[in-house]
Symmetry: C2
Subunit: 182 residues, 2 copies
Amino acid sequence: MLRLSKLTDYAVVVMVQLSRQTRTAAGGEGGVSTAPCLAQATGIPEPTVAKVLKALAASGLVSSQRGARGGYRLARALSAVAIAEVITAIDGPISMTACVDGATGGCEAQTCCPIRGRWDPVNDAIRATLSSITLDSMDKAFDRLQMPHAPSAEAPAGAPPGAPVHAVVNSQRTKSASLAAE
Amino acid sequence: MLRLSKLTDYAVVVMVQLSRQTRTAAGGEGGVSTAPCLAQATGIPEPTVAKVLKALAASGLVSSQRGARGGYRLARALSAVAIAEVITAIDGPISMTACVDGATGGCEAQTCCPIRGRWDPVNDAIRATLSSITLDSMDKAFDRLQMPHAPSAEAPAGAPPGAPVHAVVNSQRTKSASLAAE
DNA sequence: CCGAAACCGTACAATTCCGGTCCGGTTCCT
DNA sequence: AGGAACCGGACCGGAATTGTACGGTTTCGG
């Protein structure tokens, strides 16, 4: 089913949201946005947002500014960030079998393990595919989906006043795929 | 990290092995091969092989023949089977977020879930990539890897006499990917 | 100069999911 | 009639991911 981790999903959301806030200067104060602010805007719990942001910063996808009035800023425009980079930042290198490269320790009996290197072309193809899609295309898809209901429901300002919408994203996610064809 | 399940990996191995055995009429007896035979040839535990074979048969990738002297047979040649089909047979439909299609039950608050449909282009691209690679290309890669050591180490005959090589494939596999970059 | 805000790094507990196994039943050839 | 093999389900254990918490450090603002 090719699951990518939920954190990666969050990372994409956070980066898109970060782009909007720093661009409109609504949530941040002149180019940066804080983790709590992003958490409230996206509905993702604060510690999780912080964790994602940290991993993103470690990979250089966002730059951080410490201290009071600190925050995060996109290192590049969304159109210059491939989702492959985000996935790599959160989940590590993109591969499907873990039997890639050296894999020192696993499958030491090469003569009996019939899968060594077998998935390499697949991994390369997937990697190429993921590298060709940038974040802004997903942002565009987002806009299109939001159209029917609310013209500006994504809350570009600091916070929607009531905003009890939280943690609904993490309820159940992986269930629907299994019941469909198993 | 894009993990695909270990079962899918096994499925590929089993299908390749099944192709060899039914083609050379070595392990089976004229076109079919049994689950225990495949288990011994591949080193995968028998119940697991049976489970994989069952899923494969349910999807029409292999055909089963019940009763004594029964067994499994490839429904199509390896070159006509895309790995996307194998993945779908074992892991369900290919998607990365489970928030695809209707997803009745999950993410009922569309207004707050910013990821609805966002991964659709990615899923489509991955699906197309996986549909363009067939099993025989992986079989070819297998041959190339086996060359250096043994000319015919894959044991095309029913069973290598001693053959204590078992269950080494399932010992540790998912570990190496995590230590690589996390 | 001092306090507050925000990031930083690590460690930890809970949950969910996957991998692997087993059972009784049915079908079919010998 | 008997045995061999598939069939369908459920079950349990282990592992990975998820989500959270805490103490420390850096920097700005008053």
